[in-house]
């Protein structure tokens, strides 16, 4: 009961306080000379957001960079030892390799299937239902998706009845059942985890690509056909180039998603059998190994991997602003 009251106070109280704050700033501004008002006001409006952004994102990021050069208790400087550990010891390198596989495969899978669905479903009578089917997993948590796919990948020894969907299919065609999540040959288990995320994220790519695809003028495609272009040529020479900027946007999002991959790995294997990823290794170091310095170093490595995407986004944003 207490909690309901607290939550109600927060849900209604915080907006009320914020509205009161903005109203109060306007009263305060009345005493400020007319000419200074326009210069002061924006900062008063920005203040709550800037303070929160600083406290929860900017300051901690700087602090984490500092901690990454310190020991596990944050009491002494250790130079680059935490980074050396990551790039020489087993778990770090293995996770790094997996993240590269994640990055390539998740991006390619979601782009290819997303593009295929966007193009193939365009104009069919069941387009709306088809899109909803691909889109819906996006509403589901990584944890729930992990659970759904645990039932897909479930394994029983040969001879026992296979209750997992995939192994039932595999044994039906005469192959012996595969313990999907424990086989690290060719990193099979990592591919199985990536498949779960592909299932979750394909709808994201599909929606964005579909919006761009529908924006391609029919006349353009018709003109090419009249000139004798085959369907393959139309797709390669007209559709793909026109979709390229959109595909780049989807790709950047998927690259970041792959680098940050966590829930599915944490829930399905927790990194066992060489399926570790950077984000989960960081949590491991922080809570299981109590290695604050190493955890910080891993976080910084993750951040550095994302910086190119950040710069790409900023440049794209500035290009958009220029034509605004």
């Amino acid at each position: 009961m207490d909690r309901i009251i607290t939550a109600a106070i927060v849900v209604f109280g915080v907006p009320a306080v914020l509205i009161g704050y903005i109203w109060a700033t306007e009263q305060v501004l009345r005493v400020v000379p007319q000419r200074a008002r326009g210069r002061v006001r924006p900062w008063l409006w920005l203040a709550p957001a800037l303070v929160l952004l600083f406290v929860f994102l900017v300051y901690p990021t700087i602090q984490t960079i500092i901690l990454s050069f310190q020991n596990r208790y944050g009491t002494a400087w250790v130079g680059t030892r935490n980074y050396e550990w990551f790039f020489t010891a087993g778990p770090g390198l293995s996770a790094l390799l997996n993240n590269i596989i994640w990055l390539v495969c998740l991006t390619v899978f979601t782009l290819v299937v997303g593009l295929a669905v966007a193009v193939l479903a365009d104009g069919v009578r069941y387009e709306r239902i088809a899109k909803t089917i691909f889109f819906m997993p996006l509403a589901i948590s990584g944890v729930a998706a992990a659970l759904i796919w645990k039932f897909m990948y479930a394994y029983q020894p040969p001879g026992a009845p296979q209750t997992g969907t995939l192994n039932a299919v595999v044994t039906a065609v005469g192959i012996s059942p595969v313990p999907w999540l424990t086989v690290d040959t060719f990193r099979l288990n990592t591919f199985c985890l990536i498949l779960v995320m592909t299932w979750l994220w394909t709808g994201f790519g599909m929606v964005i690509i579909s919006a761009a695809y529908k924006g391609i003028p029919v006349e353009l495609v018709e003109a090419a056909r009249v000139d004798g272009a085959t369907e393959a040529q139309v797709f390669r020479r007209i559709t793909l180039p026109l979709l390229a900027p959109t595909l780049a946007v989807v790709a950047t999002t998927m690259i970041i998603t792959a680098l940050k991959a966590f829930d599915v790995v944490y829930t399905m294997t927790n990194g066992a059998y060489n399926s570790q990823v950077i984000a989960n290794e960081m949590i491991n170091e922080l809570f299981t190994a109590n290695q604050q310095g190493r955890a910080s170093a891993i976080a910084v490595i993750l951040l550095l991997a994302i910086v190119p995407i950040m710069l790409f986004n900023i440049r794209r944003f500035q290009a958009q602003e220029a034509i605004r």
Partner: protein, 300 residues
């Protein structure tokens, strides 16, 4: 950015005109689409069917066996999970976490977005570019310092709802400010100019004009933030941690999945309970969700 994006929900019944963007024969298209759709549906259907099955069936057959008679399906698993395993409490926790963590950042962001869109001040562009940069900062780089800030030597709020509300507000802000500012910036300039000429203060211009016109973007944002928080595992693991009384559904569910093996029939039901609210929200408000995705796709 917001120009002529066809709406996912309105394109379904579109009549085929003479020309099409694609000329591939119809039959292969339907076959490929049918296969892909089946592939995407089977995992969820498997879970749904499993959640109604008994322990006996689980050990010996897969979910597909329940499609043929004799059907032995019941709601028993749900009753057990909600009552005896206390998953109902986790469901309530998820609500307690999600609703404030959705409402607060929207309000904070709306004021900032308006300032970015309609007030001029030195450093405006650089500051907003910084927000765009913050969009992709991995949450991992913030955990250690914020854990200390929230810890016994700081605010002493680790494990409480307040900790996750604050964290989600901070983490959600870059996207919220970005989305709302882009939308507000696209509102017609004349509206605000004539309001200023009529002597309206920025406060009344914001509440009477900007805010009502921004409702579609706020709706998109609210759905995003709600789904993000409801589905979040990472932030809950860090800031709720071992305080079982406050854990959301995702955290409890993750714990149950890790010990996958016994009580599978209950696990299936628990999974469905965790999915039902976000899926309903999603189906009801799909249109806003799609708009938000297409408009905000810089986000990572």
């Amino acid at each position: 950015m917001s120009t002529a994006v066809p709406d996912l929900t309105t394109t379904g019944g579109k009549v085929e005109v003479v020309g099409t963007r694609r000329g591939v024969g119809r039959l292969p298209v339907h076959v490929v689409m049918a296969l892909l759709m089946l592939l995407w549906l089977v995992p969820s259907i498997g879970l749904l069917v499993n959640s109604f099955r008994g322990q006996q069936d689980f050990a010996t057959t897969g979910w597909w066996a329940a499609l043929l008679p004799p059907k032995d399906l019941s709601l028993e698993n749900y009753a057990h999970v909600l009552a005896e395993q206390g998953l109902g409490a986790n469901f309530v926790n998820s609500l307690f976490i999600s609703i404030p963590a959705t409402v607060i950042p929207i309000f904070v962001a709306a004021f900032a977005a308006y300032a970015f869109a309609w007030m001029s001040f030195p450093g405006r562009n650089i500051l907003f570019v910084a927000v765009v940069g913050l969009l992709v900062v991995p949450l991992q780089t913030t955990f250690v310092p914020i854990l200390q800030l929230f810890g016994p030597k700081g605010l002493h709020i680790n494990g409480t709802f307040l900790a996750v509300w604050l964290a989600h507000t901070g983490y959600g802000l870059p996207f919220a400010v970005y989305l709302l500012r882009n939308f507000m910036g696209g509102l017609p300039r004349e509206v605000f100019e004539s309001a200023a000429i009529d002597g309206a203060s920025p406060v009344s211009a914001f509440f009477r004009l900007a805010l009502p016109m921004t409702v579609p973007a706020i709706a998109s944002l609210a759905i995003f933030q709600f789904l993000f928080v409801w589905n979040d595992l990472l932030v809950a693991l860090i800031f709720i941690g071992t305080n079982t009384a406050n854990q959301p559904l995702t955290q409890t569910l993750a714990g149950l999945v890790s010990s996958f093996g016994s009580g599978l029939q209950y696990l299936a039901a628990a999974g469905f309970i965790a999915m039902v609210l976000p899926v309903l929200v999603f189906l009801a408000l799909q249109r806003y969700f799609v708009r938000g995705i297409v408009a905000g796709s810089v986000k990572g």
